[in-house]
């Protein structure tokens, strides 16, 4: 019971006039490190720092040796080895220096905390008035008071001058600014459906039941900028049992014996909608998971897209090749403000 507090110990906390809050007791005492009290530990820390610097030197040497002796070569394995050795050398070369410096600072440098004073960031009233006065004096020196026309002329000139840079920049930066190009692709009557990426035209007979084809227009390579045109013209074509196909009245005749072709550009934000599930006739966009039902006019069955994929009306030509009847009947791809204008 020796630790039992006596009443006098308690009363030291009491008293009638206690403050509302505690006060800061001030800095705690400094704690010594092993390296401050034990000379052997101090020496050891010094050796460790030296060792870490040595690790860095070895790392840099390793890097240089690997650079000279281990070229990337022609195989994936040799490239990996070269990368690994160079990287490990660089890692050791850098990390050694860092670890040494930090270890040095933590074990050997003076670790007594110091205190700096802070001062309010707001300058004194005197300084502020001085600043205001300086500005006013300058304004008086400039003699602009009651010269409205001068000020107006200056601001007008300053506002207009940047136009000489901005106008040509804005004029040229968007090529011809003809945004109606969004609405058309190079599909037109008689263009053959070709296999992507080979460009080989496809016969209707090749399209077996249940198969899916990635399609581009056969005339794609004739274009000046094939990639720009391909970005709009890509099509996914599948053949399903005509009995599964639900076709709208106004689209009868757009398919050919169960072969339907839809734009592959998602109506959400434009990813290629490339994952076709044969059993359900669903087409899934791998970017944002919009799902379209190709048996039912490619209507959206799930996900963030709002509109069905545009359908490309197709038929066959005299030689049995699949051809487009026309361009798409609506703009392909993501929506934009002027889409229906």
């Amino acid at each position: 019971m020796s630790t039992h507090p006596s009443p006098t110990d308690i009363t030291t906390y009491g008293g009638a006039n206690l403050p509302d809050t505690f006060t800061d007791p001030g800095h705690g005492p400094h704690r010594l490190r092993r390296t401050d009290t034990d000379p052997a530990a101090n020496k050891r820390a010094e050796r460790q720092v030296v060792l870490l610097f040595a690790v860095s030197i070895i790392g840099t040497v390793l890097f240089l040796v690997a650079y000279v002796l281990v070229p990337p070569g022609d195989t994936a394995a040799s490239m990996r080895t070269s990368n690994l050795l160079l990287g490990l050398g660089l890692f050791l070369g850098m990390f050694g220096i860092g670890a040494a410096a930090v270890h040095w600072a933590k074990t050997l440098m003076n670790d007594h905390e110091r205190t700096d004073e802070r001062h309010s960031l707001t300058p004194s009233e005197e300084t502020r008035q001085g600043a205001v006065q300086a500005l006013q004096e300058g304004l008086a020196d400039a003699n602009v008071a009651r010269r409205g026309v001068l000020k107006g002329a200056m601001f007008s000139a300053l506002a207009l001058a940047p136009l000489s840079v901005a106008v040509p920049l804005i004029g040229e930066v968007g090529e011809d600014w003809d945004i109606t190009k969004f609405k058309h692709t190079i599909w037109k009557k008689g263009v053959r459906l070709a296999s992507d990426p080979s460009g080989r035209p496809i016969r209707a007979a090749e399209v077996t039941l249940g198969s899916a084809f990635h399609v581009i227009p056969a005339n794609l390579e004739d274009e000046e900028h094939p990639l720009d045109e391909k970005a709009k013209a890509i099509v996914l074509m599948v053949r399903m049992d005509p009995r599964d196909l639900k076709e709208a009245e106004d689209r009868r005749g757009w398919s050919y014996e169960g072969i339907v072709a839809y734009s592959k550009v998602c109506t959400h934000v434009g990813c290629p909608v490339a994952l076709y599930e044969q059993q359900t006739h669903h087409l899934l966009c791998p970017c944002h998971q919009s799902t379209f039902d190709l048996a039912d006019g490619a209507k959206v069955v799930f996900g963030p897209a709002n509109r069905p994929l545009p359908q490309l009306p197709i038929t066959v030509d005299d030689e049995g090749y699949l051809v487009a009847q026309s361009d798409f009947h609506e703009p392909i791809g993501p929506s934009f403000w002027e889409r229906l204008t």
Partner: protein
Amino acid sequence: MTTTIGRGAAATADYLDQRTSVSVAIKGLARKVFPDHWSFLLGEIALYSFVVLLISGVFLTMFYVPSMNEVHYEGPWAAMNGVEMSEAFASTLRLSFEVRGGLLMRQIHHWAALIFMASIVTHMMRVFFTGAFRKPRELNWVLGFTLLILGLLAGFSGYSLPDDVLSGNGLRIADGVVRSIPILGSYISYFIFGGEFPGQDLIPRLFTVHILLVPALILALIGAHLFLVFLHKHTQYPGSGRTNKNVVGYPLWPVYVAKAGGFFFIVFGVIALLGATMTINPVWNYGPFDPSPVSAGAQPDWYMLFLEGALRLMPGQGMEWGIGEFTLSLNVLIPAVIVPGILFTLLAGYPFVEAFVTGDKGEHHVLDRPRNRPFRTAFGMAILTAFTILILAGSNDLIAAHFFLSLNDIIRVFRVLFFVAPVLVFIITKRICLGLQRKDRELVLHGHETGRIVRFAHGEYIEVHKPLDAHERWLRVGYQAERPLEIEPPVDSRGVRRKGYRVDQVRQRLSRVFFEDRVEPVTPSELAAAHSHGAHDTLEAGHSAPVRELEGTATGGGRTLVEPVDGSAPDARNR
């Protein structure tokens, strides 16, 4: 020898000083004090990974060709031989496989970019949760926020430079998003791509944005950010001896020259290790950009996932509206522009909201412990939760594949969680904060458990508690619990309506939301009362009839016995 070097150094210093007055700066800055805490390193990581980005980036520009001209690849990577690709992609392959150390530099550059963004975000979390954004640092918060946005831009523009199929699809998504903007969308798309997607100009334009515009802005803003850190002097965590009027820590020279300088090398080293051992963005497996193919499980870099996730979660049905003959596609506009816009605005504007609500005009240099600001901590966690759910939603196909779940179910669950989880997290976090504050009170009032059980003569057992030393106690009581504002009545004594009453009303209402639930710190009189109560029990137990005592306190579980300790003595726990 040493004297020669010494004399040379002195002469150089003298030469410089006569021309630049450099000694003035050195005298003022060399021994400037900075506080020490691991969480202050997060911002340093951001700075150093940016330096690594500059170093590795300069290396890459020596070999990369920002051109969309079509070439046929010939080189050591057999899988791509003869494939038609842009010069940008071909030069990326060349610098990866034929330039010695090129692959390492590319991987270091990409890893450093990911770490740059991650450290910015975590640094921002530290600043937010500790209240380091309060006056006078609100502007530096906004600077930091702008750096976050610029970091996103730098990352996105750089990610697309190799012109591979994955980044090309990312650009196409960006194009789709831009087009959804009402009225201007199509023109902004033309502005970016120089015509239709993908066009001929994009890669050179992105290159200029990525290596000139954005880095120059980032560099300038980092300069301003650090200048303000120097001007304000660094914040410090609360503790005995640390006040709003001082800064306690170690001097810049030599301690932080060694620690912070050394830390740069550590960051560089770790990023090099990542680049050496972990493949990142192997574009040679993806192939050059082609608008047609796309692979499943494609992910953007992590800092873009929240946008991707928002796009994935938004239901599309009924979300495309016609306005006259024009089209407004809300299914893209809301997730890609409006939701991130709201979240980012909340983030950027929070310091100003809090300053408005508290009406606080004072400078704050001592950080808050997150528990002592329950509303702020809970609010920050709620926003983070919303971001996290969007990030997870951006990986929903990978989650579905790895855990054998239905993709559609995951999306439906996330749609609900996006609204519900932040609310739940807000409530739970606030309760945890209040609980921790009560725990602090409990500790201050009753001390630490010592595990020593004492048995009294009359048979009662009691555990001895050890009171907190003054330093630890100060840590737990040295804060002010904000209280809801009280405002002046709408009319003055003569019945005249006063100006600004409406604003005050808003302020008061918000202030109630912020500070209605709070735990006040222990006051000296509460502590004295607690101690005298304990002493009273003991005295009673020692002297009077045990039966009545037992009745009064049941099993005695709530009672504690306090050891007398000199309050000013240090305690190891204070560290």
